[in-house]
Symmetry: C2
Subunit: 219 residues, 2 copies
């Protein structure tokens, strides 16, 4: 395999929701998982693990749980779209159609990687704030991003999904995840049916970065 450049991989990593059922060769899967392990974590504790779900019965159950939630999410999103400008509504329609495909074929995905984490191994500095906490995610999602980028490098489609966190207890029972551990996301991975990765739509740096104060141009 020719390793793609870092910026090339990042700038063409898109959510690929139409995947083929073909299996992922062991060496390719190993490289993708290893990339995740390289990520930084608070105190280098690596307080997370991956469960690679390939067993048909387990994928079937995850697919049922996912589809229930996707249907509800899609219905809510349709309502939002009514108020969107035409271009945004068209992009959302494309995303929803691909999301429907993923929900219908979730069980056919060759591998679903479920990220688990142990909050007892994390120094969660925003734990006592009044807002919702996110800092625990700082020791998990860098690894998730490494995995997604490695999928991109290997020509594998993937997308970060968090809908299954809603029914974490069911997922815990199914995958025998110990009490005290949480789930951070589920990543369906497989070779793309269509073109796969490619151009992405993102806000420019001028909108996303400020200088010294919130809202102030970077200069």
């Amino acid at each position: 395999m020719t390793e793609p450049g870092l910026y090339e991989a990042m700038s063409t990593l898109r959510a690929v929701r139409r995947l083929r059922p073909d299996p992922i060769p062991a060496d390719v899967l190993e490289r993708v998982l290893q990339a995740a392990t390289w990520a930084p974590s608070g105190g280098n504790r690596q307080p997370w693990r991956m469960i690679v779900v390939r067993e048909a019965a387990a994928k079937q159950r995850l697919a049922e749980l996912y589809a229930e939630r996707w249907k509800r999410f899609g219905a809510g999103y349709e309502k939002l779209m009514a108020g969107m400008p035409p271009a945004a509504a068209a992009a959302s329609r494309k995303m929803l159609d691909a999301g429907d495909f993923l929900a219908d074929h979730f069980h056919e995905t060759p591998a679903i990687v479920v990220f688990c984490f142990d909050p007892r191994e994390m120094a969660i500095t925003d734990r006592k704030l009044e807002r919702i906490s996110v800092v625990g995610g700082g020791s998990v999602y860098p690894a998730v991003q490494n995995l997604l980028l490695a999928c991109r490098a290997e020509g594998l489609g993937c997308t970060l999904t968090t809908l299954l966190c809603e029914c974490e207890d069911e997922v815990r029972t199914l995958l025998e995840i110990p009490e005290g551990w949480g789930t951070a996301c589920a990543i369906p991975i497989g070779y793309p049916r269509g073109k796969g990765h490619g151009p992405i739509r993102r806000l420019p740096v001028a909108k996303m970065a400020f200088g010294d104060r919130f809202g102030q141009p970077l200069g």
Copy 2:
């Protein structure tokens, strides 16, 4: 600049805490910030922003807030080290020394990038669970990881810190962050004083990845 390979960048990205005060050229900073913008987020909402702090007075205040917290963290860590095997204690000692250096020189860092986020723009699927929430981080820390990897590519040292989240109200006032927004981390960035990035210590894939069930070998 020659763009490094994706795996090369990931496998040599380490926390670099000894930074030189030399400024970061505008084109280099722009590439690093752009890499962050490329990251995925839930519904492609990009519910986060970066504040690049370069003003001396603001850096000075962040440094004071950081040093207070680092001192407390360091004292707690010293106690933990008493119970560690010698090799682990030695690695921790190196980390603490570099951390002391960072705390003492935080204000001299050429740029401190503070990531903010708006939880109202996030579908946080683990919001109602009994455990602490992390899913909001899934729309922020992938961008943080892109930024860290881009620093690695550009020869810039950096490290993900979250201690300043503890005093978010002070940081909010200082950087004029609107009510309703939170802070996810602060990344000091600068050219390394020493060798900078290089070999990392991480658990092997066999420890970090399971097959179908938690604790079961991947096979």
